[in-house]
C-alpha cells in the first residue's frame, strides 16, 4: 500500500522486538466477539491512485461548475477571483501539514500569520480585536450571541428578519438546547430593512440584537441607529457580515457602534467548495477579550528578547476550563484563515476598495438589465453586490428551469425559506467582478424565456 512504509519483514521484526507473537496479540484488550476476523464486509478493497482519481473525476463531472455557466448565486457564499499565488502558498507543506501551534518555537510561521490575520480582520470589521477564526459565519453568529449573554447576564437575542435563514436556524437549534430566548423578526419582501421593528423589539431583557449587513436580501440596515437603541437598553449589537468584500465600500460595523462583529470570510481566498470549509470572522471590543470564544494569538518575546508569537488566553478554552469554558470549540479554520490573509495582503485596503467598487458597479449593470425583463421587478433601492428580484411566479421553479437552460440564475427564497409561502416569488441575484456582460445578457434572455413558458 503506497501510504504504509512498514514492510512485512519490518512487521515481523517489530513484533518480535515487542515480544508479541501476532498483531492480534496487540489487540488482546478488544473482546474476541468484537474483533472482526477480516476486512469489513461489503466494502471494496484498496485501489491505485489512478483508479481513485478516475472515480473522483467521474463524480466531479456530474456537477455543473460555476465557471461553466452564467452564474449568479450568493446568499452567503460568493464566487470571487482568487489570485493564483493564494492556492500555491497554502499548499506549502509547512502550512498544509502543520498542527495547531502548541509548540511556538517551531510554529512561528503559523502564529505570525494568525497575528497578521487578527489585525487584518479587526481593521476590516472596525473592531478593536479579532480572534484567529471560527468554523464559519453561521457558527460564529451563535458564538457571538452566547458571548453577549455571558457579558450582559441576559438570555434574549433579537434577530433581524434580514439575517441569513441558515444562520437563524443554527442559532435556534443551539438556543433550544441552551435555554436562550430567540426573538426572530419574520423575513419580509420590503424594499427597506426592518430596522424599526428590530428597535421596537429591544427591551431591558435583551442581551443582544443581531443584524446582518448587508442583509440576506441585499438591503443595508442603519447600524448606527440600531446600536444607539441597543445601548440605551444595555444590550449589545452583533453585526453579521456574510460578504466581507462589501466592507471595501460601506462603513465597517465596528465604526458604527457594533459591539461584536462576526462574518463569513469565504469571499476572500476561499473557493465555493459546495459550502465548506469556510472561515468565521469574529471581532469585538477589547474589554470583552476574556469572554471571547476561539483561539487567540498574542505577541510576546522569547528568552533572547526577540519578538515572537504564542497562542494565549487559553484558560478560556475547553482544554483547560473544561465544563466552564467560553465555548467547546477546539479548532479554528487555520488554512482558510491563511488563504483569507494572503488574499487580503495581495489586495490591501486600496485593492479591496477597488474590488468592492467593481462588484457594486457590475451589480448595478445587472440590476438595470434584469429589471427590464417583462414581469420582473428589483426589490431593493440600495444594495452592494446582491439584490432581490420579484418574479411573477414561484422563483424555485424558475431557478430549476434556468438550470435546464445551463444558467445558474440565483438563489430562490423558496429554497432558503421552505414553507414560507409569502416569499416564493423572490430570487436573490449576486454579481461579482467575475460576472461578465455576456452572462448578464444570458440570464436576462433565459429568464425572459422561462417566464414566457418557452421550452428549454
Amino acid at each position: 500500500m503506497r501510504y504504509l512504509p512498514l514492510t512485512p519483514a519490518d512487521r515481523t521484526e517489530m513484533l518480535s522486538a515487542i515480544g508479541a507473537d501476532t498483531i492480534d496479540a496487540l489487540f488482546a484488550d478488544v473482546p474476541a466477539e468484537a474483533r472482526l476476523p477480516g476486512p469489513v464486509a461489503g466494502l471494496p478493497a484498496h485501489a491505485s491512485e489512478m483508479a481513485v482519481e478516475r472515480h473522483m473525476a467521474a463524480l466531479a463531472a456530474r456537477n455543473l461548475t460555476a465557471g461553466a455557466a452564467p452564474f449568479f448565486l450568493g446568499a452567503g457564499a460568493y464566487r470571487h477571483h482568487i489570485p493564483a499565488s493564494v492556492d500555491h502558498l497554502i499548499q506549502r507543506g509547512e502550512f498544509l501539514t502543520a498542527y495547531t501551534p502548541y509548540q511556538p518555537e517551531i510554529a512561528q510561521g503559523t502564529l505570525q500569520v494568525l497575528f497578521e490575520f487578527q489585525t487584518q480582520v479587526a481593521r476590516l470589521l472596525g473592531t478593536d480585536i479579532a480572534n484567529a477564526s471560527m468554523y464559519d459565519g453561521s457558527t460564529a453568529c451563535w458564538e457571538a450571541i452566547a458571548m453577549a449573554a455571558r457579558i450582559t447576564r441576559r438570555k434574549k437575542a433579537v434577530l433581524s428578519g434580514g439575517l441569513h435563514p441558515h444562520y437563524g436556524e443554527t442559532v435556534k437549534t443551539m438556543a433550544r438546547f441552551t435555554g436562550d430566548a430567540i426573538d426572530a423578526r419574520p423575513p419580509r419582501l420590503d424594499a427597506a430593512p426592518d430596522d424599526a421593528d428590530v428597535i421596537a423589539a429591544i427591551d431591558g431583557e435583551t442581551a443582544c440584537v443581531v443584524v446582518q449587513y448587508p442583509d440576506v436580501l441585499g438591503r443595508i440596515p442603519d447600524l448606527a441607529l440600531i446600536a444607539a437603541a441597543a445601548q440605551a437598553h444595555g444590550a449589545l449589537l452583533v453585526a453579521v457580515v456574510t460578504e466581507p468584500v462589501a466592507l471595501g465600500l460601506i462603513e465597517a460595523p465596528g465604526h458604527l457602534g457594533a459591539d461584536i462583529v462576526v462574518g463569513e470570510g469565504q469571499s476572500l481566498g476561499v473557493g465555493l467548495q459546495f459550502g465548506g470549509p469556510y472561515l468565521g470572522l469574529f471581532g469585538c471590543r477589547e474589554k470583552f477579550v476574556r469572554q471571547m470564544p476561539g483561539r487567540l494569538c498574542g505577541q510576546t518575546v522569547d528568552a533572547d528578547g526577540r519578538r515572537g508569537f504564542v497562542l494565549t488566553l487559553s484558560t478560556r478554552e475547553q482544554h483547560i476550563r473544561r465544563e466552564k469554558a467560553t465555548s467547546n470549540i477546539c479548532t479554528n479554520s487555520g488554512l482558510c484563515a491563511l488563504a483569507f490573509s494572503i488574499h487580503m495582503t495581495l489586495l490591501g485596503g486600496a485593492g479591496l476598495a477597488r474590488l468592492a467598487q467593481v462588484n457594486h458597479a457590475r451589480a448595478q449593470a445587472a440590476a438595470r438589465r434584469l429589471g427590464q425583463v417583462p414581469g420582473v421587478a428589483v426589490l431593493n433601492d440600495v444594495y452592494f453586490n446582491e439584490f432581490t428580484l420579484i418574479l411573477p411566479g414561484d422563483a424555485r421553479a424558475a431557478v430549476r428551469a434556468l438550470a435546464d437552460r445551463g444558467v445558474l440564475g440565483g438563489v430562490s427564497l423558496g429554497r432558503l425559506y421552505p414553507g414560507e409561502g409569502g416569499l416564493d416569488r423572490g430570487l436573490l441575484v449576486a454579481v461579482t467582478e467575475m460576472t461578465g456582460d455576456d452572462e448578464i445578457e444570458a440570464l436576462a434572455t433565459a429568464l425572459d424565456d422561462v417566464l414566457q413558458g418557452e421550452p428549454a
Binding site: R35, L59, R62, L64, T97, A107, I220, Q273, A303
Partner: protein
Amino acid sequence: MSALNPSGWRPEAGTGESAAALAPTASGDHALALEEPLIFELAAPGDKCGVDLDAPESPPLPGLARFLRAAIAPLPGLTEPEAVRHYTRLSRQNYAIDLGPFPLGSCTMKHNPRLNEKVARLAGFADVHPLQPQQTVQGALGVINELAFWLVTLTGMHGVAMTPKAGAHGELCGLLCIKAAIAARGEDRRVILVPESAHGTNPATAAFAGFAVESIPATAEGRVDLAALTARLGPDVAGVMITNPNTCGLFERDMKAISDAVHAAGGYVYCDGANFNAIVGKVRPGDLGIDAMHINLHKTFSTPHGGGGPGSGPVVLSQALSPFGPLPFTARTADGVVHLIEDTNADVFPQPGAFGRMAAFHGQMGMFTRALAYILSHGADGLRQVAEDAVLNANYVLRRLEDVLDAPFGHSGPCMHEALFSDAGLADGFSTLDIAKGLIDEGFHPMTVYFPLVVHGSMLVEPTETESRAGLDRFIASLRSLAERARAGDASLKSAPHFAPRRRLDETQAARKPVLVWRETVAPA
C-alpha cells in the same frame, strides 16, 4: 481553591544564550534561518497592490452615499513577488509532518496524501455553489452519500450526520441527538457522565448543551471504573461520553458492559471517536453498543490539519438516535438520484424528529472529497492495515523506551495507537517540558505533553502508521538520549531549544498584557 496544577505544567523561560545571539549578523538572518517582518512593517496602507483591477464602470448608487466607508481600511497591500516571499519565508519557521515525525498523541498527525489535494481541487467540487439546484450537483451529493455509506459500514452504525464542522462540533451534534431522543420519550435527564481522562472538549460540550457534567474515576490500570460508573447510573443520567481507545492509549475492555448498563438505565452512550484510527477496520463501534460517535476526518482519514483546521466531524448514529439527527442530510432513491433533505417536511425522506441545522450549508465538502479519496485508496483491507500498523508502531515505541522513561500503564498490557509516559524518574528540577523542548533541538516535533491529566507530567506519543521503521528508530534514539540526559540532570536541556527559530517564549507576558493586533505604537523588540 480547586486542585493546584494537577498536570504539573509550568512554563519555564529557559536560560543561557542561543547560537544566533552568540554570532549576530547585520540582517538578523542566519543563512537559511530567515527572519520576516510583519506585513504592516513591509508596506504602508495604500502603497501598492498585488491584484490588478479595472476601474469601476459607474459610481456608487446615490442611495448608498450615506453608508460609504469614511476611509479605506488601513491595510497594507503587497505585490505578488513580495507576498510570495513573505509567506514562503514564514512557512520555513514551521515544523510539519512533511518534514518529519509529528508524534502528537491524541491529535494523529499522519501523512497527507497529495491525491486528496488534487481531487479536492477538481473544478466539479471546488467551483460549485452549495445552493445550486440539486439536478446540477448530483456528483457532489454523491460524494457525501458515498462517504456516508463508508462511515456507517466501517462503524457498524445505522446513520450518520455529515454536517458538523469539527470534532467538537460533532460531539455537540451527538449530545443534541441524545437530548432530542430523551425529550421525545417525555423524560428529563440532565446529567452526562465523563471519565476524568477525557478530552477537555467532552465536559465543555456537555455543559454547552445544557447538561450537568459529573466525573467518573479511572482504575489504577488507566481504564474507566465500571463499578463506579454503574453505581452512578439512574433516571437523571442522560448518558456517558467515553473515549475508546481512551486517552491513555488503552482499549476500554468493558465497553460492551458499560453500554449495556447505560442502556439498561435508560441512557445513551456517546463515544469520542478521536482515536478511531486505532481500530478502523478491526472493530465496529456499533458492535460495542455505541449510540453516537464523531469521526475526526483529519485524524482517521488524513485530511490536512492546516495549522489548526479546518476540521470535519461527521457523527455516526445508532438506530435509536438516527431519527433525531440534524438537517440537512443526503439520501439516495431507487432511481439513483441523491436528494439533499433540507426540510423536516420534505416530499421524500421526511424526518419530523430532526433537531434542525447546526451550520449554514451542508458540511465540510472539501474535507469529504479528501477523506473519500483516502478511504478508496486504502479500501477495507488497507484500512485494517492502517490500524494494525498504527498500533504496532506505538507498541514498538513503548517497549523500546520503557526502560528509560516511566510508562505508567506499561504493565497493564499492550497499548493501542499511542504510548503514554510520565516524568517520574527524571532528575530533580527536570520536567516533561524539558524533554519536549529537547526534542525540538533533535529535529522532531514534541509529543503531546501534560495530557491526559490523570498522569503527572504526561507524554503521549502517537507515531501513526505512516512512519517507517527507520524513522521510528531515529526518533526512539533521540528520545532515549533525552531521557538519559534528563535523568542525569544535564543542565543544557533546561535551556532548550537552542536551534529553533525562537527559544522559549514568555507566555506569562502574553497572557498578562495581551497584544492581539498590531499597532503602530507597539514597537518591535
